[in-house]
Symmetry: C3
Subunit: 236 residues, 3 copies
């Protein structure tokens, strides 16, 4: 069969819907990977690293969360070894960032917003993969949060920056909200794609409002902790 005929046969095949779903899911996953890879590369730019430093930090951020998810679930070799395209996307995104990072006026601001989009994508994708592996909804929510936050955590640790999870605006809460909405919708019988979009939207809007208005949950009220050195002195 030649190209167009074959494509037609493919579209009209009974498993067409399932294939479309796969394509949409893969597209979302690639998008999240590229977005997080760019945030890693932007951290590298803030530290004035060379192009391979950009690629290392971009790759670790782009595939870190999904790697942790696969390791904990026992789905090894991890996804980017089975499908090298994810790693290739990270390399390309980080290299492109090396040449384009001077354009935005505030790279940190861009980083925060891209991180928000990646967080929203990965909290639903992580939860979805966990459900597909047969976990309960509770564990799926936890996996969504882990997948969404871990890449950024290693990015900040390797880049020597204060982790975003320590900042005062709502962060973990947004990932929790998104994963909860997605898992809740699925367990109420909603189809996968609308449930994902709902979870994505909730997480992104919550985080966006937090970034725009500096929103935060009530924090722990009492005094902050003394440092180990201050305690030493008091005892001395």
């Amino acid at each position: 069969m030649h190209g167009p005929v074959r494509a037609l046969a493919w579209v009209t095949a009974p498993r067409y819907k399932e294939r479309m779903l796969d394509i949409v899911l893969t597209g979302l996953d690639w998008t999240g990977t590229v977005i997080f890879a760019v945030t890693g590369a932007l951290t590298a730019s803030r530290k004035r690293m060379d192009i391979f430093g950009f690629i290392l930090l971009g790759a670790v951020t782009g595939i870190g969360g999904g790697s942790l998810r696969d390791l904990l679930l026992g789905a090894t070799p991890v996804f980017w070894i089975r499908e090298p395209v994810y790693l290739a996307l990270c390399v390309a995104a980080a290299a492109a960032t090396f040449f384009l990072a001077h354009i935005p006026e505030s790279r940190y601001r861009v980083l925060l917003w891209l991180d928000a989009a990646g967080l929203a994508l990965f909290c639903v994708i992580g939860a979805d993969r966990a459900l597909a592996a047969g976990t309960t909804g509770f564990i799926a929510v936890a996996m969504g949060i882990a997948t969404a936050t871990f890449g950024g955590i290693i990015r900040d640790l390797l880049g020597g920056e204060s982790p975003l999870i320590l900042r005062k605006e709502i962060y973990v809460t947004a990932a929790l909200a998104g994963a909860l909405v997605f898992v809740g919708a699925v367990s109420l019988g909603a189809p996968q794609i609308p449930a994902m979009l709902a979870g994505f939207a909730v997480c992104f809007v919550v985080r966006a409002l937090a970034l725009t208005y500096g929103w935060s949950l009530p924090v722990y009220r009492a005094r902050p902790g003394r440092t180990a050195e201050e305690i030493e002195k008091r005892r001395g």
Copy 2:
């Protein structure tokens, strides 16, 4: 069969002893998990995080050590995916800490003592799980130390605090002593529970003495390291 009758049948069953052992082991494991989750939440309180920050740091600390152990042994999906109760305990303990952390006068002091108890529980539990997976005694001791210290290490890294393993009082040594006593006792034929209690007691007492009297092993004597910047200057 109704409740009491069924319970009686259970108690008199031939596998009674094995079941008791399982219950005691599970109880110790839950206790260690809760204790470490509280130390994670206390770190969150020192950094004035919100309640979901408490839960994230509590969960990572409570199940981090066991997750590393399961990953290295290849026992995946890791334990808290198979038995979500561990994660639920972490969530509950961290949430409770959010509302109660203002009570102790010095949270850091409470953190240190709870960390000591968790260290003592997990150094024997980690070694026990490794032996059950068929490792040698040498590897079991290493797994005990890894399980006992890893949760606290990620807690301190994520919380932006100097890791406890870098402080001058005896720390790794206590975990080593506890794991050694447990593995030694088991290999000399001691039953599991007494061996665990002995290992726990040795680790906790060693660490408690170190905390109370500031005990430390002889440290490396010569000068501390220069920073990379000082070295740079000397060369320049």
Copy 3:
């Protein structure tokens, strides 16, 4: 059969060549492990830790990279659980360093050079193991870099030092060059040992030149990043 006769039979056996290869590979792997363990112990000496702190940091650095590689590939239990000799080598190397670390005039300089040798060994060994596990060349290069850099990254994180990957001299690039040369040579049909030696030599020479002459790739040109606090102030 007695010793010498048996040895002769062994040498003349048809699988002699394969066995020699195994011995050489194992020897290189042990060497890399010991070298990295010493760098971990030197970091412990710079922080004035006690002997078990040396052993912990030495072991984590010596077996950390290979553990990550095995976890990602799904080759669990990880290598040092299957072959405890690796862990024993780390313990011995770290303990020896505790007593000998005062000898070199600049421990940081020694650390940098040993780290360079370890980097060069592990970038080829990591890539070789990945190829043996059936990955593509692209993934094998990534695994080489991950194996070579990860031990040092945890060493620096646990030791509270600024990661070497953040320093301005060529580092990741050297590991990339070594892994590329090895994988390229193998895919062009070169035998394993010469390909490894070539990869090792390229990585080590590149890193050595960078260390000696302070070589660096062109870094990202624009201004370094503002800290989160500076951004806060600007907005305020």
